[in-house]
Symmetry: C2
Subunit: 152 residues, 2 copies
DNA sequence: ATATTAATCAGTAATAATTACTATTACTGT
DNA sequence: ACAGTAATAGTAATTATTACTGATTAATAT
């Protein structure tokens, strides 16, 4: 019912995202995929990332107010985010067995799943120069760092 | 070292947020607080919500690409989000004891805490008209619903 | 109480991420 | 080959959030 053509653009976006161990933004993927598709448009990247997320082939990772990150590995696993620089890593998953049924009962929601994200200071920032205090107890990037990462 | 004055604006923003059981956006709080402070500026709302979040008096709730939500209850508890309409509720917390030390060891991060968010379809959307399929397995609002909620 | 002064504010402009729009391109089925 | 339509590139628009500037105002010391 939902038409879904496998276009070159979609295929390459998915391939490139799967190659990465990191969790890039839409703009990151745009930069990378454009090496193979010079005429690629950013809108196409967003559209395909949405479609791939909806079909469950990738995951869209929630983050506070900042840009969305994408994860080529759709299987259940968790993340750690650095509250200083915004870095996002996978985490060895302790395999938590949430009682989704109980939550379903108490909330009335039809529960599909859950997201678990740890936050703290990454190794680089621990040993680092970044003198600024904590920023948004739940995440968010240091503007300058982020800009730097993006413009390199 | 961090100067923090108790202004009328900050006090009322905090009071109003605490009164609410819901998890409003900055714009929602702006609308509400303006009933007492007609000259209030949206920038002031953002600035104070940031400050309150940093001081730990409130919580900022993240979601990918969507607006930030704020929670007047800073104590540890979890949320459910409706993937159709974006509604966000508190959840009876099963009191999970995460082994933060283990994650700290395996990740190298200095872990401060974690976020746990469930997602699914809220009661209203279950019994509802909303025919659109799932939208972003991790959150995000149905535009029209959201606009409607906002403009009422 | 009053003056001082630096934090905060209102108002507005700017930024950044994302989405919407439109004419064109390229699959797909006949 | 051709019609029909999904998807695209390019661009404009929208939305949330942040930055800036001159005016206020809460805290502090007189």
């Amino acid at each position: 019912m939902k038409p879904t053509r496998t276009t070159n653009q979609k295929r390459i976006i998915l391939e490139e995202l799967r190659k990465l161990k990191t969790h890039p933004t839409a703009a990151d993927i745009y930069d990378i995929a454009r090496r193979q598709l010079p005429r690629l448009s950013l809108g196409t990247v967003y559209r395909n990332l949405d479609a791939l997320t909806r079909s469950g082939e990738i995951r869209r990772i929630a983050s506070a107010g900042a840009e969305a990150r994408f994860d080529g590995n759709p299987s259940q696993h968790y993340h750690v985010r650095c509250v200083r620089c915004g870095r996002l890593d996978d985490v060895e998953h302790p395999k938590h067995d949430m009682d989704l049924v109980a939550i379903q009962r108490s909330s009335g929601y039809d529960i599909h799943g859950f997201e678990l994200e740890f936050f703290g200071i990454c190794p680089m920032c621990q040993s680092g120069d970044n003198e600024s205090g904590d920023w948004r107890n739940i995440t968010n990037h240091d503007q300058s760092d982020h800009a730097a990462r993006r413009n390199q």
